[in-house]
């Protein structure tokens, strides 16, 4: 775009406050709205399943009923132990959400702390933290996840931890570079000049101003975390049976692909839709937070 139109465009955006402008652009982004709606639906499903579906209900074995195709009574059919796949899938949404949100919280917290320390102080601290990050990043994520789950045992918290740890380097890097960008700007110098403490500056000046890329990464990382956890489950490194985690459901369905493919279709579809919702919301956020990217 030319300089001429750039000035015009920025003049246009100057009319609204920053947050209002972001909100306005987010509202007019159909993808973001769609993603947000799907997430709300999935959250309601999860809430419903927590309130009305018991663990016994989704794990009770009923062999006479096994491998039934989808019907009115069993919308998604039944699995090899005669359990209703619809209920199991609904019940399973809590795991994926917990893993996605929990995992990203772990990596966000650790990444924010280490990344802002590295970016803010620079020098030797920066070098050490970045070496640590490089080291962590050079272990393939799935492998690291497998090892963590193997060592700590197969359980939901450990799966969350595994997903969280593997994303730490990404958050360190992104926080560090946003901090670096912000750090060299004048309002930070001004804050130093009026005698603000390091911690004060980091939390009141640096992080709020470098927030956009972090928000975008959080959103898309939730989706990636859900896929990663599902993959670990699929490989047998997830939550143990009979918990109906989606990746595990697909893996169980795999044994009956020829005679009961519906066991594969539905849980996988739920994974895809959930991840898609977070991805498209992240995409919308990216556009809304960065006016340069659109038009």
């Amino acid at each position: 775009m030319t300089t001429a139109t750039n000035t015009l465009v920025s003049r246009k955006y100057a009319k609204r406050s920053n947050a209002a402008e972001v909100w306005h652009r987010l509202k007019s982004n159909k993808g973001a709205i769609a993603g947000f709606t799907i997430i709300v639906i999935i959250l309601s499903i999860t809430l419903y399943s927590i309130l009305f579906i018991s663990f016994e209900e989704v794990t009770a074995i009923n062999v006479q009923n096994r491998l039934q195709p989808p019907s009115l009574k069993h919308p998604f059919g039944t699995d090899d132990m005669g359990r209703d796949l619809f209920l199991r899938t609904l019940y399973g949404s809590r795991y994926s959400l917990l893993i996605g949100l929990g995992g990203v919280s772990i990596s966000l917290i650790v990444g924010l702390i280490l990344g802002s320390i590295a970016g803010y102080f620079g020098g030797l601290v920066d070098d050490l933290i970045m070496r640590f990050s490089d080291f962590l990043a050079s272990i393939p994520t799935l492998l690291l996840g497998m090892v963590i789950v193997t060592v700590l045992g197969q359980s939901l918290p450990n799966l969350i931890l595994a997903v969280g740890v593997t994303a730490i380097p990404e958050f360190i890097r992104i926080t560090r570079s946003s901090v670096l960008v912000v750090r060299n700007q004048e309002f930070v110098e001004a804050a130093t000049a009026i005698g603000m403490s390091h911690l004060g500056i980091i939390f009141t000046q640096v992080i709020p101003n470098g927030l956009s890329p972090i928000i975008v990464t959080v959103t898309s990382r939730i989706g990636a975390g859900i896929i990663e956890a599902a993959s670990l489950s699929f490989l047998g490194f997830g939550i143990p049976v009979p918990h109906p985690e989606w990746g595990l459901l697909v893996s169980e369905g795999r044994n009956y692909m020829r005679i009961a493919p519906h066991l594969t279709y539905f849980p996988g579809l739920f994974i895809m839709v959930t991840v898609f919702a977070f991805n498209i919301l992240g995409d919308g956020l990216r556009d809304a937070l960065d006016p340069k990217l659109k038009k």
Binding site: M1, T2, T3, A4, T5, T7, L8, V9, R11, K12, K295
Partner: protein, 349 residues
């Protein structure tokens, strides 16, 4: 070389007229509003002459220049009306293939910021040679030899043709930009604030060079600038622009010595006067109007010290002061009206 059918023979005396713009209107149509960047400008330029397009940032100068090359980014830019004739070609009627043959060959442009206007991953020699190869059907080695000559011509050793833009300083990059623009000997050169991004000491060098090359090659030049000093140094004709319109048009002497428009006068008054340093600068009060919401009357009226009710009613009227001098200002409907010229009179409270 090119089919004569695309030459606009109707243009009077097109052999001498290198550029003729009539009633050009360019808008940027955004989702919620329309930016009225250029609102009906007309100008013409003969072979070898220089016209200065003067005005504040946002007056529509760059858009006008891009429109002359038919390079207004679309979307959001839309050329709403008018005609543009460059060396007999009707720029707004040509196909994109025909335009590609004219750009760089008949008309070329020097851009404001040399830091960003060169491609960082292509050697400067190749960037000059590309234009030569496209327009003169030379082989790569011949074109590259020409590129080296062009570099020498703008004062850069030819051996540096194999280097990349990041290896040059700002002033040198702008010289490269000039070499690219002049590589095919265009008849018309558009220079969009070519010295604004440069150090003051380099500015003079670059201006001198443009001036010298222009004389040598007989190129007509449109010099876009907000710097009246540059205009005085390089131009034969001056067009003063405000909010997308030309408010005063004439020879250098007309506009500088016989200033008619209050805005032009304001521009001069906001210059420091070295001979009278006690003299206070008189900035023009206020800001340029919002280009998405231009008034239907005179757009300068809110800032004008001579404003009267007549100015608030309609667009300013055109007054042909002499053969060469035109001013758009309703105040001259009153034949006794005169503006007070501060400069040269030494302070005017």
């Amino acid at each position: 070389m090119m089919g004569s059918e695309i030459k606009d023979k109707a243009a009077p005396g097109y052999k001498d007229l290198v550029l003729e713009v009539k009633d050009l209107v360019v808008h940027y149509v955004l989702q919620e509003e329309t930016v009225e960047a250029v609102n009906g400008i007309s100008l013409s330029l003969e072979k070898g002459k220089t016209i200065g397009l003067v005005g504040e940032t946002g007056a529509g100068k760059t858009t006008a220049a891009l429109a002359i090359m038919n390079l207004v980014p679309d979307p959001p830019g839309v050329i709403k009306g008018g005609t543009i004739n460059v060396c007999g070609y009707n720029m707004l009627k040509l196909s994109s293939r025909q335009l590609e043959k004219i750009r760089g060959k008949e008309v070329s442009m020097i851009f404001q910021d040399p830091m960003t206007s060169l491609n960082p991953v292509i050697t400067v020699g190749d960037q000059i040679a590309e234009s030569v190869m496209l327009h003169e059907k030379l082989s790569y080695s011949q074109a590259f030899r020409r590129a080296r000559e062009m570099l020498e011509m703008v004062g850069i050793p030819g051996d540096r043709a194999t280097e990349y833009p990041h290896q040059f300083s700002g002033g040198m990059k702008q010289r490269v930009g000039i070499a690219i623009a002049l590589a095919c000997n265009p008849k018309l050169l558009l220079a969009d604030e070519p010295t604004t991004a440069l150090d003051v000491t380099i500015q003079a060098q670059v201006l001198d060079m443009i001036d010298e090359l222009k004389r040598e090659l007989g190129t007509a030049l449109v010099m876009i600038t907000h710097d009246l000093g540059v205009v005085a140094k390089t131009c034969d004709l001056v067009a003063v622009m405000y909010a997308g319109r030309i408010v005063e048009y004439g020879t250098l002497e007309d506009v500088f010595d016989r200033t008619m428009h209050p805005y032009t006068e304001g521009l001069f008054n906001s210059l420091p006067d070295i001979r009278n340093r006690k003299n206070q600068l008189q900035p023009i009060p206020g800001l340029m109007p919002d280009p998405t919401n231009l008034p239907r009357d005179c757009s300068f009226a809110p800032r004008c010290r001579y404003v009267s009710d007549a100015c608030r009613e309609a667009q300013p009227t055109k007054h042909q002061v002499s053969d060469t001098h035109i001013v758009y200002c309703s105040a001259y409907d009153d034949s006794n009206f005169q503006i007070e010229r501060a400069r040269g009179r030494g302070g005017n409270g």
